[in-house]
Point group: C2
Chain length 437, copies 2
C-alpha cells in the first residue's frame, strides 16, 4: 500500500511538524513492516509461535546484564526528573523482575492458541455449513506507562494471538523497553518468524504518539493503558478502534448486613495488598447502619500505613481521618490513600459507584444475597464482586492466563484482556452450489 | 449528568452553528432521555420487551394508512429531487412492506433474549465463582440510508437486546421513519416501558449527524451503515466506538477447478437475485485456465439484464462486454452491473480481493478442497464462502434471526449483527471473603 503510506507520511508532515523527516520515514516504514509481519504471524503455526516465545524468554535471561544497564540509564534520568517513588518502583528492573518477564513469556507459550478455534459451527436446513472461527485482529498498537515489563507481556500476548504489535511505552522506560523489544525480536527470528511482528516506536518524542494515532492504514486496534486524559486523547484524535484500559477507581461497599470479619480483612486487602495496581480499591462506601464496623477497619488500614480521607460522618468515627474533598471521589490514588463515604443504603451506593467509578471493578460485602444480586446487576462495571477483594481483578486470577490489562470499554472486550480477547473472528460458509431463492 | 450535557451543547453550539438553538436543545434532551431509558430497558424482563415488540407490530398495522401517507410525502419530494430508481424503490412503502416490518418485529420478539445469558461460568481453586454474563451495550446510535424498514428492524433489535436506540435515517425517508418510530414508541409505552428507548433525530438537517457524533456522553456505540465516505466521516469525527457497516464489494472467484454448473448458477444468483443488497457480488474473478466457463456465465447474466465490464482478456471472450476502468474494481454498483477480471491463479485472486474488497463477503467456486481451504484462510473478510452465493450473507440466512447489517469492522462484531451482537458482558465474581495473597 505505497499510496496509503505516502498519504500517512504527508499527513504526518503537516500535523507532526516537530518530528524530523527521518523519524516520520521510520514510523511509516515501521507501520508497513508491521502490516507485512502481521500477515505472516496470523498464519503461523502454534508450535512456531511458542518456539518464538521460549526463545525470547531465553534471550531476556541471556541479555539480563544489558537490560539492567539500560534500565539503570532510565532510572538515572528518571531520578533527575524527580519522579514519584511509586513511578520509580514501576520503572525499576532487577534480576528477579527480568526472570519474572521470562517466565511470563513461557506462561503465554503454555496457553491455548486462540487462533483457528471454532467458536460455533452449525448446518442450515439448505445444507450450508457455517463455522465461526477465531482470527487475529491484525496490528495492535499499545500505549502504556513506564513499566518495562509490559513490553514483554504485551508483545508476548500479541504474538500468541497471531497479531503484530507496535509498542509505545512511557518515555521514561525508553531504553529498557527498547532492549526488551530486541529480545522479543531475536526470539521471533530464531523461530523463523519476522522480527517485525513486535516493534517499538523508535523515538521517545511525545509527538510520535500523535503520529501513531494517525496510522489507520497500518494499525487495526489501539490499546491505550492509562488515565482518563490519555484515553480521551486517543479516542478523540484517532479513527482507529480503541480498547480502552482506564485505570481503576474501584469501590468496596460495606452493606449494613456485611460480615464484620469479611468487611475488615477484604477492605484492607483491597486497598493495601498492592495499592498501586488498577484493581486496588480507592473508595470505601459504608452503610450508615454499618458504621460500627468502621473503627476496626480504620485501625487495620492505618496500621498497614494507609492514609484515610473521610466525609463528615466518617470523620466523626475517628479523629485520624482527614476531610475528603469532592475531587477525592473521582481520584485514583494508586497509593496508600483511601477515601471513605457513608451512604444511606444500597441505592445510594450504586448511584455513587455508577457516577464516580471507572467501570473497572467494584465489590459489595454483605450476607444479604438479595442485596448482592441487586448490586451485581445494577453496578455497570466490567467486574462486579460479592464478598471478595477487588485485587482479584486480574486475568491470571481469573484463570485466563496473562493479560494486557482490564478493559473498561463496553465493546469487543470487557474486563481482563488476554490472548483470546486480542482476536476477532470470521464466518466460513461451505456449500455444494447452493443459491439463495 | 447535567454538566456533560451542557458541555455537549456548548461544544455543539460552536461546531454546529447551522443548527438553531431549539434543535440543539432538543438533541441534548433526546440524548439524556435515551440514557435514562437505557437504564430501564437494560433491566426490563424479557416478557415486557416482547410485549412491546408485539404491540409495536400491531401499531404499525393500525397506522398503516398514516404510514403510507407519510411515505407518499417522502416519495413526492424524492421524485422531485431526481433520485435513482434503485433509491426510490428502497424508499417506497406499500402495505406488503408494512406487514413485513410488523412480522419482522414479531420475529425479533420470538428470538432468545441475549441479556442475562451466562456465556461462561467457572470456579477457581480458591473458591471464587466467576460468571461472564451478557449485558446491553447502552445507547446505540444508528445512521442508515433512506430505507424506512430499517427504522423498525434496528429499533426492534436494539430493544430486544436491552438497549436504547437513537436513529438517524436518510433525510429522504424523514416522514416515513418518524411515524414508524412513533409506532415503536407506542408499543413501548403500551408495554409499560419508556417510549424514549427508541427515538429518531428530530431534524433532517445534515448538521444533526455531526452533532450526533459528538454526543459521547449519551451514545455508547455508533452503527453507521453505508458507503466508505460515511464510515470514514464517523470514524474521523467521533470518539464514540463504531461498529462499521460498510457496503459490500463482494467477489465471486471461479477457480480453474470450478464445477461448470455451479459456476454458472452461483455467479448469476450472487449478482442478479437482488443486485441492490450489500451481499450482491460486484466483481467476478476467473482463472485464465477456467476461461472456457465464462461464455455461458456471460450469456446467463446478460439474459438476466446484467451489464458487464471486463478487463482486456474478458473482452476477448464476448464482444458485448464493455471495458472496465481501474475504478471498477473498487466500486459497489448496487445495480445490475458486474465487473469481470481474469486472474492467473488463486494467489492473484486472493491478492485482488484483499486489496479491492470491503472485507464483507467473498466466495470461491472450486472442486479443489485444498484451494478452497487456502482461500478461506487467506481472504480477510467477515464472511468467506466455498461453492455458494454471496447473497447468503444475511443474519436470517445464517439462522441468527434479524440483523442490523453486516459488520465489516474487526472488533466486537464481525459479519451479521443481530440481537446478540448488540450486547456486551460483565464478570460477576462471588466469594466468601477471599482475599488475594
Amino acid at each position: 500500500m505505497p499510496s496509503e503510506a505516502a498519504h500517512s507520511l504527508a499527513e504526518a508532515s503537516s500535523e507532526y511538524g516537530s518530528l524530523d523527516h527521518e523519524v516520520l520515514r521510520a514510523m511509516a516504514a515501521m507501520g508497513q513492516r508491521a502490516r507485512a509481519a502481521a500477515r505472516i504471524v496470523a498464519a503461523a503455526e502454534t508450535v512456531h509461535k511458542n518456539d518464538a516465545l521460549h526463545k525470547a524468554a531465553q534471550s531476556l535471561r541471556d541479555q539480563s546484564s544489558a537490560i539492567l544497564e539500560a534500565n539503570a540509564a532510565d532510572m538515572t534520568a528518571a531520578q533527575q526528573r524527580d519522579l514519584s517513588k511509586a513511578m520509580l518502583d514501576r520503572l525499576l528492573l532487577d534480576s528477579g523482575r527480568i526472570e519474572a518477564m521470562a517466565c511470563g513469556l513461557e506462561d503465554v507459550a503454555a496457553l491455548d492458541d486462540p487462533v483457528g478455534a471454532v467458536m460455533a459451527e452449525w448446518t442450515r436446513p439448505n445444507g450450508l455449513r457455517i463455522a465461526r472461527v477465531r482470527v487475529p485482529l491484525g496490528v495492535i498498537g499499545i500505549i502504556y506507562e513506564s513499566r518495562p515489563n509490559v513490553t514483554a507481556d504485551a508483545g508476548g500476548l500479541c504474538l500468541k494471538s497471531g497479531n503484530a504489535a507496535i509498542l509505545r511505552g512511557g518515555s521514561e522506560s525508553f531504553h529498557s523497553s527498547a532492549i526488551i523489544t530486541q529480545c522479543l525480536q531475536s526470539g521471533l527470528v530464531a523461530a523463523g518468524l519476522p522480527g517485525d511482528a513486535v516493534q517499538a516506536i523508535p523515538t521517545r518524542e511525545r509527538a510520535a504518539v500523535g503520529l501513531m494515532l494517525s496510522m489507520s492504514d497500518c494499525i487495526d486496534v489501539l490499546v491505550p493503558r492509562g488515565g482518563r486524559s490519555l484515553i480521551e486523547r486517543v479516542s478523540r484524535e484517532s479513527r482507529i478502534p480503541v480498547l480502552k484500559h482506564l485505570d481503576g477507581i474501584c469501590h468496596i461497599y460495606v452493606h449494613e448486613r456485611a460480615d464484620p470479619e469479611i468487611a475488615r480483612k477484604v477492605t484492607v486487602n483491597a486497598k493495601m495488598r498492592r495499592p498501586g495496581i488498577c484493581g486496588a480499591a480507592e473508595t470505601l462506601l459504608i452503610d450508615r447502619a454499618a458504621l460500627s464496623l468502621l473503627p476496626p477497619i480504620i485501625d487495620d488500614l492505618i496500621e498497614a500505613g494507609c492514609s484515610i480521607r473521610g466525609d463528615s460522618e466518617a470523620l466523626e468515627v475517628d479523629s485520624r481521618l482527614i476531610p475528603a474533598t469532592p475531587e477525592d471521589w473521582d481520584t485514583e490514588y494508586l497509593d496508600a490513600i483511601l477515601s471513605v463515604r457513608v451512604v444511606e443504603d444500597l441505592e445510594e451506593a450504586i448511584a455513587h459507584i455508577n457516577e464516580h467509578g471507572s467501570q473497572h471493578t467494584d465489590s459489595i460485602l454483605t450476607e444479604d444475597d438479595a442485596a448482592a444480586e441487586i448490586f451485581l446487576a445494577a453496578v455497570d462495571s466490567a467486574i462486579v464482586m460479592h464478598n471478595t477483594s477487588t485485587q482479584f481483578a486480574d486475568g491470571g486470577e481469573f484463570g485466563m492466563g496473562a493479560e494486557i490489562g482490564i478493559s473498561t470499554g463496553r465493546i469487543h472486550a470487557r474486563g481482563p484482556v488476554g490472548a483470546e480477547q486480542l482476536t476477532s473472528y470470521k464466518y466460513r460458509v461451505s456449500g455444494q452450489g447452493q443459491i439463495r431463492p
